[in-house]
């Protein structure tokens, strides 16, 4: 594809998540943190295996980092949601942030998703998230149903082959619920696959003591609410998705090392098994000597206060005729004040 005049953009991260664990909430913040540092950018976030409140939660997190009205669909893809009927239950972890109100009785966190039709079609957003990128990485930490579905779309294999530098399949100890789908992904994915085994996340614990420090730039943060709600504080959470995303963005950092190619299989009850040799999948291994340094690097990413985004498009009048372009930075340097519950 021809390149635009602004040069090659950073790697796009496509995060397919069920958002049921605290490391997933932290990982979402990590993706936005990487975007702020221009290490990568958010390609798409797609919720599979959870309900509408989970999509709202993901939207809330995104709006913390990208304040301002959604400018248009060309810049920000709405959070994807696997729209199955009935929708699966939401994790208790996301509920406090979604339900949280300010002293005016309004939602504490800005969000643009109110109903399912405000979310994106799951299989389309996964593929479109890659199509938008020059280089992409896909992180699968959810049932593989929709990633497998996207493989069957027109030209999808070509797009994934040309643009997806790596697919990282995360094992957080939760069996895959759609075994045929994950087997299809492993068998047919046209670009390199990395397997992030449970041992990596188990060995890399996020310290509860550092939670407030990591997010002290924002006194009200939905990820902090989620972490607090996901377990009895203080607890140190395994970092399955955090580790996978760090490798996705910085595969050459040396913190996490890929094995020689091997074979990844999934049992009928959805459990992963990796064996060296005979396949093309590489398994990831955390360097024990560097795990503290890796966690420090992750906390540093989380602790980076996002810069105020610059307006990149023409302003568009809203329903009242008023122009709703993002406000310039306030004099105190804080992100622009956005009307809640728009």
């Amino acid at each position: 594809m021809p390149q635009g005049r602004f040069g090659k953009p950073p790697l796009g991260v496509i995060y397919n998540t069920s958002m049921t664990r605290p490391d997933a909430a932290l990982a979402l913040a990590e993706i936005y943190g990487f975007e702020d540092k221009r290490d990568s950018r958010v390609g798409a976030v797609c919720v599979v295996g959870a309900g509408l409140k989970t999509a709202i939660f993901c939207d809330m997190v995104g709006r913390v980092y990208m304040p301002g009205p959604t400018r248009n669909g060309n810049q920000v893809l709405a959070v994807g949601l696997a729209d199955v009927k009935p929708l699966p239950p939401d994790s208790p972890m996301v509920q406090p942030a979604v339900a949280r109100k300010n002293d005016k009785g309004q939602s504490e966190y800005v969000h643009s998703i109110e109903r399912v039709s405000d979310t994106s079609l799951a299989e389309a957003v996964l593929l479109n998230g890659v199509i938008w990128q020059a280089d992409a990485a896909v992180i699968l930490s959810a049932p593989a149903t929709y990633l497998a579905k996207s493989l069957s779309l027109n030209n999808a294999r070509k797009e994934y082959e040309e643009k997806c530098r790596r697919l990282i399949i995360v094992d957080a100890g939760v069996p895959q619920t759609d075994v045929p789908a994950i087997r299809k992904v492993i068998a047919e994915w046209p670009s390199p696959i990395f397997f992030c085994p449970k041992e990596v996340g188990d060995a890399l614990l996020f310290p509860a003591a550092d939670l407030e420090k990591a997010f002290e730039w924002e006194p009200n943060h939905p990820v902090v609410d989620a972490y607090n709600a996901a377990g009895k504080m203080p607890y140190n959470a395994p970092s399955y998705d955090l580790a996978a995303i760090h490798f996705a963005v910085h595969p050459d950092s040396g913190f996490i090392l890929p094995s020689e190619p091997g074979t990844l299989t999934v049992s009928d009850d959805g459990k992963f098994s990796f064996k060296p040799g005979g396949g093309q999948v590489k398994s990831l291994k955390l360097d024990p000597a560097k795990k503290d340094a890796l966690m420090l690097a992750i906390i540093e990413i989380l602790a980076t206060k996002p810069a105020v985004p610059q307006q990149r498009t023409r302003p568009t009048p809203g329903a009242d005729g008023a122009t709703k372009a993002p406000d310039p930075a306030a004099p105190d340097g804080k992100p622009p004040v956005i009307k809640k519950d728009q």
């Binding site: 400018r71 669909g73 039709s117 405000d118 079609l121 389309a124 030209n155 023409r314 009048p317």
Partner: protein, 448 residues
């Protein structure tokens, strides 16, 4: 209904000297003694492409479900509320800038009905894919005189750079027969008329020259066979024939009137010879021919470009001297946006007139509108920012008891607009492996 033992062939043509003319669906075409199981009437598919996006503030109904009072731009369709479906949140992903940058208008049109990446070139090395209408035409086009009909209300350019490195072919053609072959729309009313109603029998050069020289009404050539056929028809069919021939003659006369009227050339508009001076008259003339083409089953598939993508047409008929495209880049200027709003309303009024004509055209126990699926939409929503999602889309008709209109359906975002087109062509029995970037058909659209 007059039921005869011998059914008239569905594709019967009136043939005279060098002339073949399609007929409307007549009772006589119903097989003998088949009154208890009437012949299934054909479903027609059409796409009206609107250029430069829409003033979306005044397009989208507030609520999902049964249609209430329509927003301002769609208000001309209030009387047809039970015949239309407003569909929200469809996306044309390949119209987006992605990594390529400018050229949104070229991509918006080219990707709209193809659903694939638009290869950027201003040369002859065009590359797309077969558009949805042509997928249908390839499968069912042999059933009618014309496989499909492409109409445009602006003269089409086929070469050169029209939008930031995108060929004019991308900006002027919505229908693509193959990945490299666009089907240029007919913008000249006379050409359209002759394509629909003119000679499809190879004529000797001398006879052809003689006919042109005499400038005799094309219909007159067919009168003898018309009279012979009329003698075999029942009263109802004779009335339909009379209405049909009258409407064809009116169109022919309209074409002649336009040519005789002096054709004032507005330097701000690209107008072919013979085009009515007023845009509404032009729209009506061309869509009237489309109605007859559907009525006579000359074709079952049509596209019409209300304007080419990036159109700079002014609308002096409603007091707008500015070009359409510049107005859509209003940058928040409410006066400019109001003019866009008025252009959008004008188009909707004309579309409502077209739908009303279809609805008033009986066919069997139904009407042409009920037998059709007609998209009225654009590959851009907010033209100011070149947004290619949340596209403005109205689907008119029932497709022959296929869908239940009168609703506002909101799909998930990123749902490809190609899903709608896949649903439409599936209705006429066409199920290709892929329709552009479709992920399937639109759930909840059909009654089945």
């Amino acid at each position: 209904m007059i039921v005869t033992r011998k059914a008239l062939n569905r594709r019967t043509l009136l043939k005279g000297i060098g002339v073949a003319l399609g007929l409307p669906f007549l009772d006589a075409m119903t097989p003998a003694f088949a009154a208890s199981t009437p012949a299934e009437q054909p479903v027609r598919l059409a796409w009206f492409y609107l250029p430069n996006g829409i003033d979306m503030r005044n397009w989208t109904p507030a609520e999902e479900g049964p249609l209430g009072a329509l927003p301002d731009i769609l208000s001309p369709l209030n009387g047809l509320k039970d015949d239309i479906t407003v569909i929200s949140n469809l996306t044309a992903n390949w119209g987006r800038p992605l990594l390529v940058g400018a050229g949104d208008h070229g991509r918006a049109l080219a990707a709209y009905m193809t659903g694939v990446e638009v290869y950027r070139t201003a040369g002859a090395d065009l590359k797309l894919t077969t558009s949805a209408d042509q997928l249908a035409a390839a499968a069912i086009g042999h059933l009618t005189k014309l496989p499909s009909l492409e109409i445009g209300l602006e003269e089409a350019r086929q070469a050169g750079n029209c939008d930031n490195g995108y060929s004019c072919a991308y900006c002027y053609n919505v229908s693509w027969k193959t990945p490299t072959q666009p089907l240029p729309p007919i913008s000249d009313p006379r050409n359209l008329f002759e394509r629909l109603f003119g000679d499809d029998i190879v004529e000797a050069p001398a006879a052809h020259a003689k006919r042109l020289a005499m400038r005799q009404s094309i219909l007159d050539h067919a009168l003898d066979s018309t009279h012979r056929l009329e003698a075999t028809l029942g009263g109802t069919d004779r009335r339909k024939m009379d209405e049909y021939l009258t409407s064809v003659r009116e169109i022919e006369q309209g074409v002649e009137r336009a040519e005789k009227s002096g054709m004032v050339i507005d330097p701000g508009i690209e107008k072919p010879f013979g085009v009515p001076h007023e845009f509404p008259d032009y729209f009506r003339l061309m869509t009237d021919m489309m109605v007859v083409a559907f009525k006579a089953d000359i074709t079952r598939i049509s596209t019409i470009m209300v304007g080419r993508e990036g159109s700079t047409r002014p609308y002096p008929e409603i007091g707008i001297a500015d070009g359409h495209h510049p107005l859509t880049h209003h940058m928040g200027n409410m006066q400019m946006l109001e003019k866009v709003h008025q252009i959008n309303i004008l188009h909707a009024k004309l579309f409502a007139e077209f739908l009303t004509k279809l609805k008033n055209t009986k066919e069997g126990d139904s009407n042409l509108l009920d037998q059709s699926l007609i998209v009225y939409g654009s590959g851009l929503s907010d033209g100011n920012v070149h947004a290619h999602d949340q596209l403005p889309t109205v689907l008119a008709g029932r497709g022959g008891k296929y869908i239940s209109p009168g609703r506002h359906i909101i799909y998930q975002r990123e749902t490809p607009v190609a899903n709608l087109f896949a649903s439409m062509i599936e209705r006429v029995g066409v199920r290709p492996e892929h329709v552009g970037d479709s992920t399937g058909t639109l759930a909840g659209l059909s009654l089945s």
